[in-house]
């Protein structure tokens, strides 16, 4: 019965917490809002394209810029390989990684893969959901991003 009391107490405390719900353990959304959104880009045309010396381009790059605008944030682009960028995402050196990731991406344990923002046929004609990679457990940020993706871009095509 003591365990029960503890659980009820915990539930009450949690339900009584003020502030955004869900919240970020590391405060990503708060930091990015009105600040800088650090986005990692790995080339994967037509979703993303990079060129030396220039800004990256492509559908997902546009989406990331638009998302940053909704938060009054500047975008700081980092170009690299998938593994390198996901590693930096885990180290909290990046806030978002784009690169034509699909629902079958193997990075599910290292990054929070978003809900699919569009589904297009792959080369075999099978439906393939497309997702982005956010930091694990930063749920206020994740919810904001997913809501943005779902509400504005559910049927975008490359």
């Amino acid at each position: 019965m003591r365990a029960t009391g503890g659980l009820l107490l915990a539930a009450g405390l949690l339900a009584g917490c003020s502030g955004p719900f869900p919240a970020d353990p590391d405060g990503t959304l708060e930091r990015v809002t009105g600040g800088v959104l650090r986005v990692g880009v790995t080339a994967n045309e037509p979703w993303t394209a990079t060129e030396p010396g220039g800004d990256p381009s492509g559908l997902e790059v546009d989406l990331a810029s638009e998302f940053a605008a909704t938060l009054d944030a500047e975008v700081e682009w980092t170009v690299g390989s998938e593994e390198d960028l996901i590693g930096r995402l885990e180290q909290a050196e990046l806030d978002l990684v784009v690169g034509g990731f699909t629902g079958k991406s193997p990075w599910g344990a290292q990054a929070a893969l978003t809900t699919p923002y569009t589904t297009v046929p792959d080369e075999h004609g099978r439906p393939e959901p497309h997702v982005m990679a956010a930091p694990l457990g930063e749920n206020a940020f994740l919810v904001r991003l997913e809501t943005f993706l779902l509400e504005r871009h559910r049927d975008v095509l490359p």
Binding site: A3, T4, L7, L8, A10, A11, L14, A15, C17, G19, F21, P22, A23, D24, P25, G108, A112, T114, T115, A134, P135, L136, G137, E138, N139, A140, L142, V143, E146, T147, L150, E151
Partner: protein, 331 residues
């Protein structure tokens, strides 16, 4: 149709309890099918939800073992199985307990390592049509929906388990009754994620897993003891069954009996009794006396059917541990 356990014909109360228990077992299985589907659809990457789902999957084992055990236990003894099939209850109980223990250990390691590695569980949004909402809410909803009904199932099963002296049913009822703790644990974990406490989910999962593990250890101990022919106990397994005293007292009350002692093992549902009697004055009892002694003892309770009465010159201490000490106290 009369209900039986082996060659034991069940009295109306037990036959009725058996019918209701079988029906409840099917209701439980039907409910679990719905429950695991709903929880699977919403569980996402929450550790606590995963643990609760695993517990739901495991909850299939007790009602299924109960149905299988009861089905087997009804069979009459055969040449190949002279003691009947009552032990199917013990086997079912052992299987259920081992499953609980295994899954409990696995989940403790899984959620414990999640806590040590400081895994931050992501819970994003779900959408139904144009409705976008935090995925934590349907998880909490699923936990409330699947957490409450088992408590009522457990409460309904508990008295039936006592009436039928069925340990598998008892273990099942016990787990059902504890299900709401699992559900509440998961809800706390999800709310914790929502509040930005990444560790709340793993901690809640750990709490649930420890309770599964504890269930496994308790049941394994009781099931193992029963299979090793321990003295018959109540269905809770915490004290000797009162019938043991009544058998000895009844035999002692017969006019030709000076001293009586018996050993009783729980075959599952029914007892198997070997009763030793010392006739007064060393006189050999008549055949009628022996038959009457056996029949009147069997009439004490429906659980007693398989009974042998053995006249001896003195109670055999090597077969009845404790007899010598008791005799010494009297002398």
């Amino acid at each position: 149709m009369t209900a039986t356990f082996g060659h034991t014909e069940l009295p109306p109360e037990q036959a009725d309890a058996l019918r209701r228990a079988v029906r409840l077992a099917w209701v439980t299985i039907g409910f679990l099918l719905v429950g695991v589907t709903v929880v699977y659809l919403v569980m996402g990457s929450s550790q606590a939800m995963k643990a609760a789902w695993a517990e739901d999957l495991l909850s299939f084992i007790p009602p299924i073992s109960f149905l299988v055990a009861v089905h087997l236990a009804r069979r009459r003894p055969t040449v190949g199985h002279p003691y009947g099939y009552h032990r199917s209850v013990g086997v079912g109980h052992l299987v259920a307990a081992a499953a609980l223990l295994t899954m409990g250990s696995f989940l403790v390691l899984d959620s414990g390592s999640g806590l040590l590695a400081a895994e931050h569980p992501p819970v994003g949004v779900m959408h139904l049509g144009d409705h976008v909402f935090w995925a934590g809410w349907p998880m909490i909803g699923a936990m409330v929906v699947t957490g409450v009904p088992p408590v009522f199932l457990g409460r309904a099963k508990m008295p039936l388990a006592r009436t039928l002296h069925d340990r598998v049913l008892y273990a099942d009822a016990d787990m059902n009754k504890a299900d709401w703790m699992t559900a509440l644990g998961s809800v706390v974990g999800i709310l914790g994620i929502g509040a930005g406490l990444w560790w709340a989910d793993s901690a809640a999962a750990l709490f649930i897993s420890v309770s599964i593990l504890r269930d496994g250890i308790t049941n394994l101990r009781v099931a193992g003891r029963a299979l090793m022919d321990a003295r018959a106990t109540t269905v809770e397994g915490d004290r000797p069954h009162p019938l043991l005293q009544r058998v000895d007292a009844h035999l002692r009350s017969l006019p030709w009996v000076a001293e009586a002692g018996s050993r009783v093992r729980d075959e599952g549902h029914v007892f198997h009794v070997e009763a030793f009697v010392v006739p007064r004055g060393g006189r050999v009892p008549g055949l009628d006396d022996l038959v009457a002694a056996r029949e009147s003892t069997i009439a004490l309770d429906w659980k007693i059917q398989d009974l042998v009465v053995i006249p001896v010159d003195q109670l055999p201490a090597e077969l009845l541990p404790g007899v010598e000490a008791a005799a010494g106290e009297h002398g």
